[in-house]
C-alpha cells in the first residue's frame, strides 16, 4: 500500500458492532424507531397461473383495526418499463404461486393477519408448468448469463479430443432448488412524507446495499432517487437474497401510499421468504473430461441447465470459472435454461461457482481416480500458466500452494486412494479434497466515500456500505485508519444509509474492493488539500478510481478444501468429522472476521452437501417444505471440526489494499470435497445433492 502507513490492517480486531449485537441492542430494520406504525400482512395467490376474477375485501375492511386493503385496483401506478419482479399489483395476471395480490394494513400485526384471511380472491386458472428437466421442450440458450457473462465458450475440438483421449469421464450432476434463509427475514418499514407525487419515501430496509436499493426502487416508483432514503445500519444476513429489492419492498411502499404518511411495517414470514426472496435454481450439469496417459487433461466440457422464471430471466454463470481453472487445449462451456411459472431465481452466495464447482471438482476427483493419480497431484498436473481461455496472466494464483499446504496441515500424505478401505465400528471413514476459485467481479464503479476531520484529531468516514455480518463496520475503520495514518480508535464510521456517499452493495465478494478503494482515495485527497492537521469540518468526497488492470490480468481468490467424513454403514447417515479450508486471499484485513466468513461459507457448503433441498410441488407450483423444520439448514449438531486458514499474500492488482474477496470464497468447492470424501469412505459416488442417507444404502 504505497504511501499508506500499515498499522490497523491485518489486526484481528473485535467487531465494533459486537457489543450491540451480543446484547440485542443493534436495531435491525423492523426495530428502527418509527412513530405510530401500521402493520402489513400480504395476500398471496393460491394458483400458479391465471387471472384474478374478483376480490371481495368487504369483510376485511370491516374488521377491527383494519386501515386499508391494498389490491391491484387501488395500488398506485408504477413505471410501465419497471423491473417485472418489482412491478406488482398493476394488473390481474398471476405469474406464479404465492405471488402478492394484495395486502391488509392494520393497527396491529394480529389484526392485519386475521383480516388477510378474510379477503376472498377468485381466480380463473390457466395451465402452469414448473417442471424442470434436461429434455424440457422449452430449453433455450440465454443471450448472456448473470453478470453479463457469455453464454458459451468453445476452444479446439472437444469431441475429437474425447474420442482420442486415453481416459474419459462423462457424468451428470445435479443440485436442487435452494433457499437462502438469512436468519433475519426480509423486512421493510416504509413511510411517505409530503403530498402524493411530490413526496419523499423513507425505508428502513434489510438489504445488502442502501444505494442499490434506492437506485433500483426510484425508477419503479417513477421518482428521483434523491427522494428515496434507505436506512439499513444492521442487517441479519443476506447471502444474495437481499442484494436487490424484491416485491415485498414495493408492496410495503404501495401500502404506505394509502395511509397518509404513517409508517407501514412488513417483515415477511419465513414461509413467504421461500417464494418472494429469490432462490437458487435447481441445476443439471454434465461434465466430460478427457486425459492423456500422463494425466494431463486434453478436453474439458462443462454444460449447465438451470430453471428460470418465465416473466424475468435469471441464469447463474455456473460454468464460467471452469473457463479459467485447468489447462486443456480443447474446451467448451455452455449455459441453458428452462422457463417456468415460478418466482424469479436470484444470486445466492457465489452464484455459478457454488453449483459449478460441485460438478467440476467432483468430476476432477472421478478423473484422478480413473487415471490412478492422487487428487492433489492430478490438479497440480493440470495447472495452467495463463488463464486458458483468455491467455491473460494471473494477478496471483496460489492454488497449488493452497493444495500442498492444505494437504500438509490436514495430514493427506500417505492416503490410500482405494475407496471403502477404512471402517471403525459401524462407520465407514474417508477423506476427500476439492479446489476453490472465486473471480473478481468489477461490475459497479462509482463508489464514493467522504472523510471529514473532527475535533481532537479524530475523523469520520461516510460511505453507504453495508455490514451483513461480514465485519465491514470494523474492517472499513481499519482501512480508513491506515489511509489516514491514525489509530483505528480515532476513526468513526457511518455506513448503511443511502444519504451517505453512494456505494456498491455487499455482493460478489467485492464490497471491500470498491469501498476500501474509495476511502483510500478520499483520505489521499483530504491530506493533499488540507494536510496532516486539517481544521475540524474539513471534508472531502472522492470516487474510487477505476481499476486499470481489469481485462489485462485474470483475478481470482483460490483455495482447497479437505474433508474427512464418516458414513454409517447401516443407516447411510453422513457426518463431516473435519473440514479444513486453505485459501489464497491476498492480504487479509481482519483475520478474526475473515476466518468467520470463511468457516461460515464452508458450513453453508456442508449444509448444501448434506441437507438442503427445496421440493417444488408440480401440481401447485410452490416449495412444499417452506419452513425451517422441513428445509433443514445445518444446526450446531451437524457441524464438528471446521477451520479455515490462509497463505500470506498481497495482490496488488485487485485494489490498493491487496485484498481478494472472502465472503463467497469459502463455500465454493466445499460440497465437492465432502462428496469426494463420502465416495472415498463408501465407494458410492453421489452426484445428486443433497447427500441424504438413502443415497448410501444400496
Amino acid at each position: 500500500m504505497t504511501g499508506v502507513a500499515e498499522r490497523a490492517v491485518g489486526a484481528p480486531l473485535v467487531r465494533r458492532d459486537g457489543p450491540l449485537k451480543v446484547t440485542g441492542r443493534a436495531a435491525y430494520a423492523y426495530e428502527q424507531p418509527v412513530a405510530d406504525p401500521l402493520y402489513l400482512f400480504p395476500i398471496e395467490a393460491t394458483v400458479a397461473r391465471g387471472r384474478i376474477v374478483s376480490i371481495d375485501a368487504a369483510a376485511a375492511e370491516a374488521a377491527d383495526g383494519v386501515v386499508v386493503v391494498l389490491t391491484h385496483r387501488n395500488a398506485a401506478r408504477l413505471a410501465p418499463d419497471a423491473d417485472p419482479e418489482l412491478r406488482i399489483l398493476q394488473d390481474d395476471v398471476i405469474r406464479f404461486r404465492n405471488q402478492f395480490v394484495g395486502a391488509v394494513v392494520a393497527e396491529t400485526s394480529e389484526a392485519a393477519r386475521y383480516a388477510a384471511g378474510l379477503v376472498r380472491v377468485e381466480y380463473e386458472e390457466a395451465p402452469h408448468d414448473v417442471t424442470f428437466r434436461a429434455d424440457h421442450p422449452e430449453l433455450y440458450a440465454p443471450e448472456s448469463v448473470n453478470a453479463g457473462i457469455a453464454t458459451d465458450s468453445v476452444f479446439g475440438d472437444v469431441e475429437m479430443a474425447l474420442a482420442k483421449a486415453h481416459r474419459t469421464i462423462d457424468h451428470v450432476y445435479s443440485t436442487p432448488l435452494e433457499h437462502h434463509n438469512p436468519m433475519e427475514p426480509h423486512t421493510t418499514v416504509a413511510a411517505w412524507h409530503g403530498e402524493d407525487g411530490s413526496g419523499r419515501l423513507t425505508l428502513h430496509d434489510s438489504n445488502q446495499g442502501a444505494s442499490t436499493a434506492r437506485s433500483m426502487l426510484a425508477p419503479v416508483l417513477g421518482i428521483a432517487p434523491e427522494r428515496v432514503r434507505v436506512i439499513s445500519p444492521y442487517v441479519g444476513g443476506g447471502f444474495g437474497s437481499k442484494a436487490m429489492p424484491h416485491a415485498h419492498v414495493v408492496l410495503a411502499v404501495l401500502a404506505a401510499r394509502l395511509v397518509g404518511g404513517r409508517p407501514v411495517k412488513f417483515a415477511m414470514s419465513r414461509r413467504q421468504t421461500f417464494t418472494q426472496a429469490s432462490h437458487r435454481s435447481p441445476q443439471i450439469q454434465r461434465v466430460r473430461l478427457g486425459a492423456d496417459r500422463d494425466g494431463r487433461l486434453t478436453a474439458i466440457a462443462h454444460g449447465s441447465i438451470a430453471q428460470t422464471s418465465r416473466f424475468k430471466e435469471f441464469v447463474e454463470q455456473t460454468t464460467f470459472v471452469t473457463r479459467s481453472m485447468y489447462a486443456a487445449p480443447n474446451r467448451s462451456t455452455t449455459h441453458r435454461a428452462v422457463p417456468s411459472d415460478v418466482s424469479v431465481p436470484g444470486i445466492f452466495r457465489a452464484p455459478g461457482e457454488t453449483p459449478g464447482f460441485f460438478a467440476l471438482e467432483s468430476a476432477m476427483d472421478e478423473m484422478a481416480l480413473a487415471c490412478g493419480i492422487d487428487p492433489v497431484e492430478f490438479r497440480v498436473r493440470n495447472e495452467p500458466e495463463r488463464e486458458p481461455e483468455t491467455g491473460l496472466p494471473f494477478s496471483s494464483r496460489d492454488y497449488v500452494a493452497c493444495m500442498r499446504e492444505g494437504a500438509r496441515r490436514f495430514g493427506w500424505e500417505g492416503r490410500d486412494p482405494a475407496p471403502g478401505g477404512t471402517r471403525a465400528g459401524e462407520w465407514l471413514i474417508g477423506t476427500g479434497m476439492a479446489g476453490c476459485a472465486y473471480p473478481a467481479y468489477f461490475l459497479r464503479g462509482g463508489t464514493q466515500a467522504a472523510v471529514e476531520a473532527l475535533p481532537d484529531g479524530r475523523y469520520r468516514v461516510d460511505i453507504a456500505a453495508a455490514d451483513i455480518g461480514t465485519g465491514a463496520w470494523t474492517a472499513l475503520a481499519q482501512v480508513s485508519a491506515d489511509a489516514l495514518g491514525v489509530p483505528v480508535e480515532d476513526v468513526d464510521m457511518a455506513i448503511g444509509d443511502s444519504a451517505l456517499p453512494p456505494a456498491a452493495m455487499a455482493g460478489g465478494s467485492m464490497g471491500m474492493t470498491f469501498w476500501g478503494t474509495a476511502i483510500i482515495e478520499a483520505a489521499r485527497v483530504l491530506r493533499e488539500r488540507f494536510g496532516e492537521r486539517p481544521e475540524p469540518g474539513a471534508r472531502v468526497t472522492a470516487t474510487a478510481p477505476d481499476n486499470p488492470h481489469v481485462g489485462k490480468v485474470s483475478m481470482h481468490a483460490y483455495g482447497a478444501h479437505f474433508a474427512e467424513v464418516r458414513v454409517n454403514a447401516d443407516t447411510g447417515e453422513v457426518r463431516v468429522s473435519r473440514l479444513l479450508g486453505m485459501f489464497d486471499l491476498g492480504r487479509v484485513i481482519n483475520p478474526r472476521t475473515t476466518r468467520s466468513q470463511l468457516i461460515g461459507g464452508m458450513i453453508m457448503g456442508l449444509s448444501m452437501a448434506l441437507h438442503e433441498e427445496g421440493v417444488r410441488d408440480p401440481r401447485f407450483g410452490h416449495t412444499v417444505n417452506c419452513d425451517l423444520a422441513q428445509y433443514h439448514i445445518a444446526a450446531h449438531a451437524d457441524v464438528e471440526d471446521v477451520d479455515a486458514i490462509w497463505l500470506d499474500g498481497d495482490d496488488r492488482y485487485y485494489n490498493p489494499m491487496g485484498a481478494k474477496g472472502v465472503g463467497e470464497t469459502g463455500i465454493v468447492g466445499a460440497a465437492a470435497a465432502i462428496a469426494n470424501a463420502a465416495h472415498h469412505a463408501t465407494g458410492i459416488r453421489v452426484r445428486d445433492l443433497p447427500m441424504t442417507p438413502e443415497k448410501f444404502l444400496r
Partner: protein, 168 residues
C-alpha cells in the same frame, strides 16, 4: 379481545394491554419495544426468539403473552450475574461467535439456560450417564443442547468455543 397483563422484563415491571392473540415475542417487540429477542421463524424452529422465562429458556414465539401474566422475562440485554450474562457476552465477542448478529441474543440466552440445565442434571440426547447429578459439558453436549438455535451465518465453531470457555 384485549387483556392487560404485567410482565417483569429484565427486572422492570411492564404492564401491557394486548390482543389476546399476541405471542410473548410480539408483546415484547411490538408492544413493549423490547427488541433483543428476534423473530426468525415465528414457529419455534429457529431459536432466535429465545428468552429466559422464570429462569428457563423458551422460544417466546410459541407462548401466548396472556398466559405469562406475572412472569419474569430475561433477554440477552438483561442477562445478569446469576445467568453468567457478562461472561457469555464477553466470550461471544472474544471468539467472534456471530456475524450478522441476528441469532445472537437467542444464542446467548439459550446458552445461559443450557448451562443451568446441565448443572441441574438434565440429560440430552447424547448424555451417556442419565443418572448424573450434573452433566459435564463436552463439545458433543454443547452442540446437541444448542441445536435449537440456528445460525445461517455458520458461526457454530465460534459459538461452541465461547460456550466451552464459560462452561469450564
Amino acid at each position: 379481545m384485549e387483556a392487560t397483563i404485567t410482565l417483569r422484563v429484565d427486572g422492570e415491571e411492564r404492564p401491557v394491554s394486548l390482543d389476546t392473540r399476541t405471542s410473548l415475542l410480539d408483546a415484547l417487540r411490538e408492544r413493549l419495544g423490547v427488541n433483543a429477542p428476534k423473530k426468525g421463524c415465528d414457529h419455534g424452529q429457529c431459536g432466535a426468539c429465545t428468552v429466559l422465562v422464570d429462569g428457563r429458556r423458551v422460544t417466546s414465539c410459541l407462548l401466548l403473552a396472556v398466559t405469562q401474566d406475572g412472569a419474569s422475562v430475561v433477554t440477552a440485554a438483561g442477562l445478569g450475574a446469576e445467568a453468567e450474562g457478562e461472561p457469555l457476552r464477553r466470550a461471544f465477542l472474544d471468539h467472534d461467535g456471530f456475524q450478522c448478529g441476528y441469532c445472537t441474543p437467542g444464542q446467548v440466552c439459550s446458552a445461559a439456560g443450557m448451562l443451568r440445565e446441565a448443572r441441574a442434571g438434565h440429560a440430552s440426547h447424547v448424555t451417556a450417564d442419565l443418572s448424573a447429578d450434573e452433566i459435564p459439558l463436552d463439545d458433543a453436549e454443547i452442540r446437541e443442547r444448542m441445536s435449537g438455535n440456528l445460525c445461517r451465518c455458520g458461526a457454530y465453531p465460534n459459538i461452541l468455543a465461547a460456550i466451552r470457555e464459560v462452561a469450564r
